[in-house]
């Protein structure tokens, strides 16, 4: 068959034909390859400078903000960093110290003081307990507890405190008047008077927890160190950015 014969001839002769390209062909290809490689090399930093720098900057900002808020929350919520000075509540017990009250019973429990007295005047010491209407109520006052924050602020906390009694009025005039009614032992009264300021002085002692103080100092050092590092990174980043920009402009 001529057709098949022709096709066979085409396949045999034209299929294996070799034509030597011109000498300039390789030079052209070489030049094209060089340009392509240079383009690729130049494109990478350019791409990095525009897109990656943007991404890196946004990530850096996010991380910085995250660290800032994280630390902020930490200092606000965790009381480890605080040094709290709490005056201890003083429970006044008069019951044992005032044994010789005549017809009057002054009872003080752990949490509150009950004074059941129809005639409140005390003997020759001249100390009278007034406001008898409120005697049966628990006298709980909320004294403000002062928390000293180192170098920063003073926070106030409401802490329930058992207050001693109603205001004690020293009334020398009534002293004579009430002579007949109630008599308290002088020694006992003195002892009670002495014990009260002692307890109060105890409560004013500043209790400083060494561990919390150390922790607070550590956290402060950590934050300053972090700030230093972040500043350093941002400075370097700016330098690199400007260098890249200059290079790209060139």
């Amino acid at each position: 068959m001529e057709q098949n014969n022709l096709e066979e001839q085409v396949k045999k002769k034209l299929g294996s034909i070799e034509i030597q390209p011109s000498t300039q062909a390789w030079d052209r290809l070489d030049a094209m390859l060089t340009i392509a490689e240079k383009k690729k090399l130049n494109q990478l930093p350019f791409w990095f400078s525009l897109q990656n720098i943007g991404i890196a900057a946004s990530v850096l900002v996010m991380v910085t903000l995250g660290l800032f808020f994280f630390n902020h929350e930490k200092t606000a919520l965790i009381p480890i960093n605080e040094i709290v000075v709490t005056p201890k509540t003083e429970k006044v017990t008069i019951k044992n110290e005032l044994p010789n009250v005549k017809d009057n019973r002054v009872v003080a429990n752990d949490s509150h003081l009950k004074i059941s007295n129809q005639k409140p005047s005390i003997n020759s010491q001249g100390v009278s307990i007034s406001n008898q209407k409120n005697n049966h109520n628990a006298l709980i006052n909320h004294e403000k507890e002062i928390e000293y924050l180192i170098g920063e602020s003073v926070a106030l906390k409401n802490v329930p405190k058992v207050f001693s009694t109603e205001p004690i009025i020293v009334n020398p005039k009534k002293q004579t008047a009430s002579k007949k009614t109630t008599y308290i032992d002088v020694d006992a009264l003195l002892a009670s008077a002495e014990s009260a300021p002692k307890a109060h002085s105890k409560s004013n002692q500043i209790i400083v927890d060494a561990n919390t103080l150390l922790l607070y100092a550590d956290s402060e050092v950590e934050t300053t160190f972090r700030e230093k590092v972040i500043n350093g990174i941002s400075r370097n980043f700016q330098e690199v950015k400007s260098a890249l920009a200059n290079r790209n402009q060139e």
Partner: protein
């Protein structure tokens, strides 16, 4: 042993060329460029245009060399790139469009023996329209099946068959004309 050594050598050369070694790239180019220019010449009549296609295709070869998996022959891989480049060039530059035509017929020819040299065969092929030429070359020289040709050109299988049929018919007319010319009857 020699074949294994050659294969190993080619592998090493490819490895170096992937690493942008210009010497290795030049070696690959020197080895395959004459054959590949012959391939390009089958599709493109103008030798300068064929050389341009050769350079562009070799650029693609070197930029995509890392994708070569050493599964088939390296020459076949380069050859495929050359053919694809030629087809896309013809499609873009010559604005060739394949019209879907599935009306083909198998013609029977008289078994007259005739021998042609390379120039004559090349002349006959060059005379074919671009569409016919591409399908004829892909089918007869490269040995692709109609299904593969259809996939490469983005046409139906029937269109590929009809294009080949038309090409054969035209070639027959050309051969007859040439024979008559040589015999002095025309």
């Amino acid at each position: 042993m020699k074949v294994i050594n050659l294969h190993q050598e080619e592998k090493e050369l490819i490895k170096l060329a992937v690493e942008k070694n210009r010497h290795a790239q030049q070696k690959i180019y020197s080895k395959f460029s004459p054959k590949m220019l012959g391939v390009c010449r089958q599709y493109i009549k103008d030798i300068h245009e064929a050389e341009d296609i050769l350079i562009t295709a070799f650029m693609k070869v070197f930029t995509n060399l890392q994708n070569f998996k050493h599964e088939g022959s390296f020459e076949g891989w380069i050859r495929r790139i050359m053919i694809n480049e030629c087809i896309s060039f013809i499609r873009v530059q010559k604005k060739v469009k394949f019209i879907e035509d599935e009306t083909f017929f198998e013609e029977r020819q008289n078994p007259t023996e005739s021998h042609f040299n390379v120039e004559e065969l090349q002349f006959l092929i060059d005379k074919l329209p671009e569409g016919y030429k591409i399908v004829f070359n892909l089918y007869c020289i490269e040995g692709f099946k109609h299904q593969e040709i259809a996939k490469m050109l983005g046409v139906n299988e029937g269109t590929s068959k009809s294009q080949l049929s038309h090409a054969r018919k035209m070639l027959q007319r050309q051969v007859t004309k040439l024979n008559n010319y040589e015999n002095g009857t025309e």
